[in-house]
C-alpha cells in the first residue's frame, strides 16, 4: 500500500483514535492495544497515524535516528560523531512506524551481523533490526496474540528498558530502542500474556458500527479512496493537517500542564476501587489524562479529562473475575459513575 487512508476520514472509532493521539502526544503513556471485531479498520488507523505524525529531528546517518539533544542514552554512532564534530548534522524525517510481521525471525527483530559486509569486506558490522528502526517511533504488531512466544519475550524486555542489548555472533551491541508498542488483535484468538499486556499503556475495544448511517459512510469513503486515493487524501488534507497541528501544540504544552492534587487523589481512589495491580495503572492514567488535557487545550488537568481516558488506561489492568460476566470496560465505567456522580 503506497498511500495511507487519511486519519481524519476514519468513521467513528473515537476511542481508538483518541488513544492513538494520546500516546503520540506523550509516548511515555506507553503503547496502545486495539482489540476487536474484524474489518473495523485497526490496521488502517495505525497506518493512517503514521501519515499524520509531525516529522522529527534526527542525527544524519544515525541508524537509530537519535535526537541531537538526547542526553539520556547516546548510541555508539552519535558518540563517535560527537568526538569529531562540534555540532551534529540533523535532518527532519518521518516518525518511523515499523511493522512487525508474523513469521519474523529473531535476527531481524534484534539485529544481527551484517553478512554481506562480513563476507565481502571482512568487516564485523552490526546490521540493525526492526527494534532499531522503531526507535523514537511506533512498533506495530498486527494479530499480536499470534506472535510466537520467543519473539514476545524479546519485546517485553526491550519495551520496558528502552534499550536493545545484542549478544550474538560475536557481536556485543547496545542501542536505544524506545518505541511505542501498538498491537491489534482479536480476543477470540486467545488471551495475551499478562506481562505483554502490561507493556501497553492504553487498551481499547473496537466494535463494528451498528448504525446504518456510519456503515454506509464507511463503505462510501472506502470506495472513494480506492477509486482515487490522491484526490481523496487531498479532500481530507485540511482535517489531517488540523490534527497534526494539534499534536504539535499539545506536545509543546504537555510539560507545562499542572495536575492538581484533587485530580491525583481521584485517580488514586479510582485505582484503589478497581483494585488495579501496582502503580503503573495510576501513572499511566495520570499521563494519559495530562496528554488529553493538552490535546484539548486545557490549562490544567481536570476530572473530566481523567474520566475520558480512565477506561482505556485501566481496562486491561483489572484482575480477571470470571464470575462477573460484564466486560472490564463496563466495570471501569461503573466505578467511574460511582466516583463522579452526575
Amino acid at each position: 500500500m503506497a498511500v495511507a487512508f487519511p486519519f481524519s476520514a476514519i468513521v467513528g472509532q473515537e476511542e481508538m483514535k483518541l488513544a492513538m493521539l494520546v500516546s503520540t502526544v506523550d509516548p511515555g503513556v506507553g503503547g496502545v492495544l486495539v482489540f476487536g471485531d474484524r474489518g473495523t479498520g485497526k490496521s488502517t488507523a495505525v497506518r493512517a497515524l503514521a501519515a499524520i505524525l509531525p516529522k522529527m529531528t534526527a542525527v544524519v546517518g544515525c541508524p537509530y535516528a537519535c535526537a541531537p539533544d538526547d542526553t539520556r542514552s547516546r548510541c555508539e554512532f552519535c558518540g563517535q560523531l560527537k568526538k569529531s564534530q562540534a555540532r551534529l548534522k540533523t535532518h527532519l524525517i518521518p516518525v518511523p512506524v515499523i511493522d512487525l510481521p508474523l513469521g519474523v525471525t529473531e535476527d531481524r527483530v534484534v539485529g544481527a551481523l551484517d553478512l554481506e559486509r562480513a563476507l565481502s569486506a571482512g568487516v564485523k558490522a552490526f546490521e540493525p533490526g526492526l527494534l532499531a528502526r522503531a526507535n523514537r517511533g511506533f512498533l506495530y504488531i498486527d494479530e499480536v496474540n499470534l506472535l510466537e512466544d520467543h519473539i514476545v519475550d524479546l519485546l517485553i524486555d526491550v519495551a520496558a528498558s528502552g534499550e536493545n542489548v545484542v549478544e550474538r555472533e560475536g557481536l556485543s551491541v547496545q542501542h536505544p530502542a524506545r518505541f511505542v508498542l501498538v498491537g491489534s488483535g482479536n480476543p477470540e484468538e486467545g488471551e495475551l500474556r499478562p506481562q505483554l499486556l502490561d507493556r501497553f499503556g492504553l487498551s481499547v475495544d473496537v466494535k463494528t458500527p451498528q448504525d446504518l448511517g456510519s456503515r454506509i459512510e464507511v463503505v462510501k469513503r472506502r470506495d472513494a479512496f480506492e477509486r482515487d486515493p490522491q484526490a481523496f487524501i487531498e479532500r481530507w488534507k485540511k482535517e489531517d493537517n488540523k490534527i497534526r497541528r494539534r499534536i504539535t501544540v499539545a506536545r509543546e504544552r504537555l510539560e507545562s500542564i499542572p495536575v492538581p492534587d484533587a485530580v491525583l487523589e481521584r485517580a488514586a481512589e479510582l485505582c484503589m476501587k478497581l483494585g488495579t495491580d501496582g502503580l503503573r495503572g495510576e501513572l499511566t492514567l495520570m499521563r494519559a489524562a495530562r496528554a488529553y488535557a493538552a490535546i484539548q487545550g486545557a490549562k490544567e488537568v481536570m476530572s473530566t479529562h481523567l474520566k475520558t481516558v480512565a477506561t482505556m488506561a485501566l481496562r486491561h489492568r483489572l484482575r480477571r473475575n470470571p464470575l462477573d460476566d460484564t466486560g472490564s470496560g463496563v466495570r471501569v465505567e461503573r466505578a467511574l459513575s460511582e466516583l463522579f456522580p452526575v
Partner: protein, 603 residues
Amino acid sequence: MRQDQIDDALNDALLAAALFARNPSRFGGIRIVSSAGPVRDCYLDFLKRCLGPGVVPRKLPLNIADDRLFGGLDLSATLQAGRPIFNRGLLAEVNGGLLIVPMAERLSRGLAARIAAVMDRRRVYVQRDGFATESTAEFGLVLLDERVTDDEQVPAELVDRITFQVDLEGFSYRSLEDAIDLFAAALPNDASPVRVDPPESDDGMIHALCSAAMALGVDSLRALSAAKRVSEQSALWFSRLTITPEDAAIAARLVLAPRATRRPVEPEETSSEPQPPADYAPSDNDRTQSEQDSVNDQSDSALDEPTSLENLNDLDEVVLGAAKAAIPAGLLSQLLSGPTMRRRGSGSGRSGVQQKSGLRGRPLGVRSGLPSGRARLSVIDTLRAAAPWQKLRAGSTAYPLGRLTIMAEDFRIQRFKARSETTTIFAVDASGSSALHRLAEAKGAVELLLADCYVRRDQVAVIAFRGKRAEVILPPTRSLVRAKRSLSGLPGGGGTPLAMAIDASLQLAHSIARRGETPLIVMLTDGKANVGRDGEPGRAHAQVDALRAAQQVAICGFAAMVIDTSPQPSEAAQKIATEMHARYLPLPYAGAAEVSRFVKAMA
C-alpha cells in the same frame, strides 16, 4: 429444492466464478464448499476457463513453513554462491495469480493470519534470516472447504476478506455441466477481459446493500464493500452503463446471503419501522453531510424528494428479497435453532494442523547455542547459519576445501516448552435432574476453574450432556471469552446420558494426548444415569453402561475427577468415581473454592 431453484443457484455459482475471474485480487477470493470430486473439479475448470490461459494457479500446502511462504535463505544456492541468497516465497511467486488452498477448514490460525496480513497490504513484507525485503503480492484466494461437521471452520479472518462463497453440495455433475454450457452460450460476445472501470454506485444502491446487510445480521464492513464491488462488476459484466437493481440483487445473493446470521424481519415489520433513509442523513455528523453535498448533489437532492424515497424503499426491498431467497437452506435451519447453537463453531478453536514435533510441548523457536539434554540440535537451521560463511572459511588454512565447515557458533537448537500443557475437559451434566438441583452452581464452579486455567495458561474444553447426546460445545481453547460464552448459553433439561458423556470425554482426552498435551477430565454430574450408550432410556442399563465407560477411563490412565452435583452425596456418583479411579468431590461440602483447589492440585 425445486428444479428452478437449483437452476438459479447453479447460475449464481457460475456467475460468482465469472465475476471473480475478472479481477481476482480485488475480490480477494472465493470459498467453495464442496467435498473433493468431479463436481468441484468441473467448477474449478470453469473458473480457470474464465481466468484465461495466462493465470497459473498455485497450491498452498497446509504444512508450509514460513521460509517457503514468505521467502528466506536458499540453502543450496547460498552454499554454492558463498553469500546469502534469497529465495522468494510462495506468496510473492503467486503474484497476479490464484492461490488455491485445499482443505481450507484445516488451515491453522497462524497461517491464516499470515495470509490475511499479506492480502491486506497486497505486499509480502519479509523480515527473515537476515533479509529485509518487500514485494508485490496480489492474488485471488480459492478456499476449498471440505468441512463435514461444524467443528471445522475455515478461519474467519480469511472468510472475512474474500468476496464470494459458493456451496456446490447438492449439485449433480450433469446439472453443473449443462449449466456451464448454458452459461457460456449466454456470454456476451466480447468475453475477453477488458479492464475498464466499472460504473459507480450511487447512494441509493449503497444504502440498499447496507440495510439488507443489517437485516441479515451481516456484521462485517468488509462484506459491505465486497457487495458493492460485486454490484459494480455485475453491471460491467452485463454491459450496463449504470448499476441497476438487478446488479444490487446479484450482489445481495452472492455476497450477503451466504453470510447471513439471522433471518430478516418480515416486511410488515420493516415497513412499520421508521425507515433509515428519512433519518440517516441528519444523524450523520456535519462533516459527513458536507461531504455528501460535495460528492453527489444529484443524489442528495433526490433523497429529499418523497417520491424517490419510496423508490429507495423499493430498492431496499428488492435487494433484501434477493438475499433472503438465496440464503442457503441449511443455513436457515441453523438460524432457526437459535444463536447459541450457531455460535459454537464460529470461533477459532484449535482445528487445523498442529505442528508436529518430536518432543512434547510447544516449540519455542530456534536459538543459537550448543545442544544439550534439554535442547535438540536443529540441523537445517544450523546448516542455514553456516552456509553464508563457507566461502570465507574455505579461504583459511585451518579447514580443508570442499567440506562444509561448521563452527560452534553455527549451532542452532530447537527449544521446547519444558512442561507440557494441560487441557482440562469439563463434562457438564445439563440434564433435568442436575438442572433442577444445581446447574447454575456447577456453571459457577466451572467458571472459577476457568480463572485458574487462565492463570496457568492451560486450555479448556467443555462437553455438555443432556437428553440423548453429549457434545463438545467448546473445543480446546485458551480463550476465556469463548468458554464463558459457551457456558452461559447452556440450556438444561432432559435425561442423563452419562455413558455417552464419559465416552465423549475419553475421545477428546485421547486426541489431546495425541497432541502431546495432558488431559484432565472433570465430570460435573449427580451420577444418576438414565440414558444408555444406545440412546435408550432405562436406569438400570444406563448405569451399567456408565460404569463400563468409567472403567475405560481408568484403563487409559487419564487423570479425572468427579464433582457430585446432587444435593446429598450420592452413591451413584461415588461409584462412577471409583470405577474411573477419579477423585470424588461432593459439591455441597466442597465449595467452589475447594473444587478449584483440587483441580489445581491435580493439573
